[in-house]
Amino acid sequence: MRIRLNGQPHEAPDNSTLADLLRDLGLADRPAAAEVNRTLVPKAEHASRRLTEGDEVELVTLVGGG
């Protein structure tokens, strides 16, 4: 299925969860916060949050800033 990930088109296996996506991207063990369709999904819900075609996913982390 096709989703949008951080503003770019992204192909993810059907029935993936948010946790699957993070694992496939190598982010499972890193601090990463996720939004699906502009709503935050807490880490505790990553494994149960199933993604669907057209979902807009944002994955963010902390960077230097003032």
Binding site: L25, L27, R30, P31, E35, L40, K43, V63, G64, G66
Partner: protein, 302 residues
């Protein structure tokens, strides 16, 4: 020079002569900790983590600044490029409270989203900064001046959501007062535009902000955020009575960031002490420090 046989005793005396004795240590009055958003911090200097030449320099500068709170930004993961070093590998999470900002947000809605993402990240890191946010809602790309309406909307929304909002704003006293009324844990008026290095452009407005915000609430924390270019600017902000100073570029872009961080630490303390000690009033004419009485010289007009 005569060659003396070296004994342990001579060596000790020799080194004692060549190295000056350490300066006497004075008890430092007035450098009390600051309570903000229900937490006590030792240092009144808040330092950003952006724009350093490299992470080790940032790490050394943060250490030299003596700060307890550091700001960070929330950004998309780089998914396809080489990720390289991560900021978090260079920040001691047990030492610093991490204050995530909403920099780059131009609407209240985006700022609220970013604040929530920041809280989620800090909860994952189990850092006490979880639930704190340095709120910025910007109104214009070129000046990065705050949007007063969006700032107020986002403050209300985030306070409702349980956040401790440390709010970047202009130096307009009425905006500052409105933000406090909306429930912000701290109002942070800008000295001058972000990264501009112009220092405190309108000291009179900062003083009015302080007066309004602290009326009947003297412990309400007010932090001058943005615009600092050199240590003297930090000292001026503190001397006006600000409870703290938040800066980034002045250290990160200094020729020598670590030395500037030392200067900023001392300027924060010097400015605080100067404020507490109380400046003398400004006068048009001179007042002699040495008595004229008893002078043997000719004094015009006497």
């Amino acid at each position: 020079m005569t060659n003396h046989p070296t004994t342990t005793r001579d060596t000790d005396l020799g080194s004692a002569r060549s190295v000056p004795p350490p300066p006497p240590s004075y008890p430092e009055p007035g450098l009390h900790s600051l309570t903000i958003a229900g937490r006590t911090v030792r240092s009144r200097l808040f330092v950003g983590t952006g724009k350093y030449p490299d992470f080790p320099t940032m790490q050394a500068a943060l250490d030299a600044s003596g700060c307890d709170v550091v700001t960070v930004a929330v950004r998309r993961e780089r998914l396809y490029n080489d990720r390289g070093q991560s900021l978090l590998d260079f920040i001691d999470l047990d030492r610093y409270l991490i204050l995530p900002n909403t920099a780059g947000c131009f609407t209240a809605e985006d700022a609220v989203r970013v604040a929530r993402l920041g809280r989620e990240l800090l909860e994952q890191l189990a850092n006490p900064g979880a639930g704190w946010v340095k709120l910025e809602v910007l109104g214009d790309r070129k000046t990065l001046l705050p949007d007063p309406v969006g700032t107020l909307e986002a403050t209300r929304e985030l306070v409702k959501d349980g956040f401790q909002v440390l709010c970047y704003t202009s130096d307009d006293p009425i905006s500052a007062e409105r933000i406090k009324s909306a429930g912000a844990a701290s109002v942070m008026p800008a000295g001058s535009p972000i990264g501009s290095g112009q220092g405190v452009l309108n000291p009179s407005n900062i003083v009015l902000c302080l007066e309004l915000l602290k009326q009947g609430d003297p412990d309400y924390p007010v932090i001058v955020d943005a615009g600092v270019g050199a240590a003297s600017d930090t000292a001026i902000a503190m001397e006006l009575g600000a409870d703290g100073v938040l800066l980034n570029t002045a250290i990160a872009h200094a020729k020598d960031p670590v030395t500037m961080a030392h200067a900023m630490r001392k300027a924060t303390e010097a400015g605080r002490q100067s404020y507490l000690a109380g400046r003398i009033p400004k006068k048009r004419y001179a007042t002699a420090s040495s008595p004229l009485e008893g002078a043997i010289s000719y004094i015009p007009g006497e």
